[in-house]
Amino acid sequence: MAEEIKPAAAPPKPAGPPGPPPPKNPGMVTFTIDGREAVVKPGTNLIEAAASVGVGIPYYCWHKRLSIAANCRMCLVEMSNAPGGKLMPACQMAAAEGVAVKTDSPKVKSQQKATLEFLLLNHPVDCPICDQSGECKLQDFYMKYDTQASRYDQPKVKLGKRVPLGKLVVLDQERCILCTRCVRFLREVRQNPQLGVDARGSHSVITTAPGLPLDDRYSGNVVDLCPVGALTSTDFRFRGRVWFLSSARSLCTGCARGCNVFLDYMRDGTYRYRPRENEQVNREWICDEGRLSYKHFNDDRVLSAKGGRAAAVAEAARVLSAHAGQGTLAWIASPTASLEDLLAAALVARDGLKLSEVYVGGRPDGWQDDFLRRADQNPNRAGLAMVARAFGMAVKPASELAAAVASGKVKAIWAVGAELPAPELADALARAEVRVVQAVNEGALASAATVLLPASPAPESDGTFVNFEGRAQRFELAYWPRGESLPHWGLAGEIGRVLGLTSRWSSAREVFEDLGRRVADQLPGYAWASLPSVDRRKGIEPLPAGTTDGRLPGHRERMPLDANGNVEWSRLPNP
């Protein structure tokens, strides 16, 4: 009867909803958004998931590098699995298998409109004096989702219009929408919670602790994070309108980290740095000091040579060649110069001036932290070492050059870049008989030069910096060299030409194509074209300044000019 005993029949399945069907794409989540099918990794945030299929969901408070606050309510979307058909904040929801998301239903649209109306309820709408206008999310979303006049006829809440939070940041409490991105940045990224939200309701404001300033060394990032015009930079404040600015992809020259930035410029002036995303280097932050390090591009520049650049170059070549090959000549290179500058200068030093060692100048060391900032304030020290190795030159510190000058062994110096690690070195080097200095800015060594050549900083040429990790990164030309200046590679090339070298370069690209193979073994995988010249953001026509601005008649853009004020067509980039 054993066979009689049958195992108990499998209990019938309990009544209830069927289990979830197997995933359509194993290991991935498949769902639809506005009818489009999206396949993303499990746990992907809905905003990012939507962006991956080209659906934009508006948001203010969400930021991919910050925690989710979900307080702006701008990203509310319709989800098929939402209880009771409620709208769900997309920033807080992960994509789930089989869910249908709608971002353009009438319900969502009316919600977006209502959200904007609330956000703008007490907004002062002082766009004319707001630095954010042009890149303000309130403006953008109002035009996209709202476009209705305010129905609120009561006096608006009056709050602080100009609250200086710190050295670099000013707060306009009326414009603030309380997204708390700034609060979260300081708390989570910097772990230095200097900002908080005070008071309640429509009187809520962002504020520091009473009496304490916002003095974090990365505080400038809250200005970039702020989606509206509440936090503005004291440095850029009122200096221009963002739609006039063009952006060049550049590198911060403040330290050896080589943070990626956008260099915003108008005509031939740099106006600000904005961090550019690079997961390997700086993610999307930069320090305050680096943010302000563009200033020397504009101020205290050496823009002309005595008697014209051509005459000064000829004079430099003459006095340098008089000492060449006699052991009384030395060259000092600044690691603030780009790889191309140093390649060109090294070629001239070795072949034209018969030098076999290079002294290293550059800015003195500064502070360092474990976030981004490096103590070495020169962007290209590693690049200089590579160049020296490639040309078989011994690298020596600047202090040894000072000693050699003091002992009378070295009578002539050629400085490619006038930055020196210690101020007293300038006095020491000034004792040399011949001092040919290629300087970007006025300074102790520049004023001590016998032959001073105007050099251009990074925005005025293309180039490469090698950061402290040995990572070579490209930056691009923003505007043409100011005044009579030329990049170091240009000046070195002109000196080399007088000295009889055959190399001819008209752009940094040509320098790299000519000399870059010498360092190719030290830069595996690096290609000049790693920064394709597309996607450059051009501002609308740059501002004019009447006929007194020195522009050539009929030229709306600044053209590269030679020493006589004529357009140098050869320096325009090839189409």
Binding site: I129, P155, F238, R239, F244, L543, P544, G546, T548
Partner: protein, 232 residues
């Protein structure tokens, strides 16, 4: 009524020429008599001139000026506030809208005032200006107008055509009820504030209508002034 050309061949009277010439002589003599023996009415408004005797239509330009119609786009001016500072907040809207790029602005920060921004420099190069009026349209503060009814005067140098904020800031002040400096704590004294508020009027963005909103400053008044000058 359409005009039709009469191609009838000339009759004897016409082919003689003389009869028509005599008639024409009479006409020209009459005109000559009127204009040579009677004095001209120097009213710059030609249509209002007394033409019973002298019918000369000339306007002696630099001394007499034809008043321009309302809405004529003349020389720019920066509209002042009651305390004499410009209404302009240096928002660059005019410079952005300007197709000729003739406006140059440098913004500065006002200490201790809710209107934080003001033009440190506001320069219009009238040689580059194409007189399109976009700057007036673009201005969100009614701070730049072209209601002066004047041309840029002739100069011997290019620099003379460059008008800076000192030359541009003129005309009677304008205030609107919702101007921020009237509704917020500002640097104005209480008395100035009260006077300004009393003169303020509801903001209207009716375009050309704004030209007539400044009492005592329009091409009509200019015309009246010119008339008074010529009468004196």
């Amino acid at each position: 009524m359409p005009y039709t050309i009469d191609n009838r061949p000339a009759d004897v009277r016409e082919s003689l020429y003389f009869p028509e010439i005599f008639q024409a002589i009479g006409l020209v003599v009459k005109t000559f008599w009127r204009n040579a023996f009677f004095s001209r009415d120097p009213n710059p408004d030609i249509l209002e001139r007394d033409r019973t005797h002298n019918r000369v239509a000339t306007v002696q330009y630099p001394e007499e000026k034809v008043p321009y119609p309302i809405g004529y786009r003349g020389l720019h001016r920066l509209v002042p506030r009651a305390d004499g500072s410009p209404r302009c907040v240096a928002c660059y809207m005019c410079a952005t809208a300007c197709p000729a790029q003739c406006i140059y602005i440098e913004a500065g920060e006002v200490e201790g005032d809710p209107i934080e921004k003001y033009p440190v420099k506001f320069v219009i190069d009238e040689l580059r200006c194409v007189v399109c009026g976009f700057c007036v349209e673009a201005c969100p503060k009614d701070a730049i107008r072209m209601d002066t009814g004047e041309h840029p005067t002739a100069t011997y140098t290019r620099e003379g055509q460059i008008y800076d904020e000192k030359r541009l800031l003129r005309g009677p002040p304008v205030s609107y009820e919702k101007d921020p400096w009237l509704v917020r704590p500002s640097r104005l004294t209480d008395a100035a504030l009260a006077a300004d508020r009393a003169a303020a009027r509801p903001f209207s963005s009716l375009g050309a209508d704004e030209y007539s909103q400044t009492p005592g400053f329009s091409s009509r008044t200019l015309a009246a002034e010119a008339k008074g000058r010529s009468g004196a």
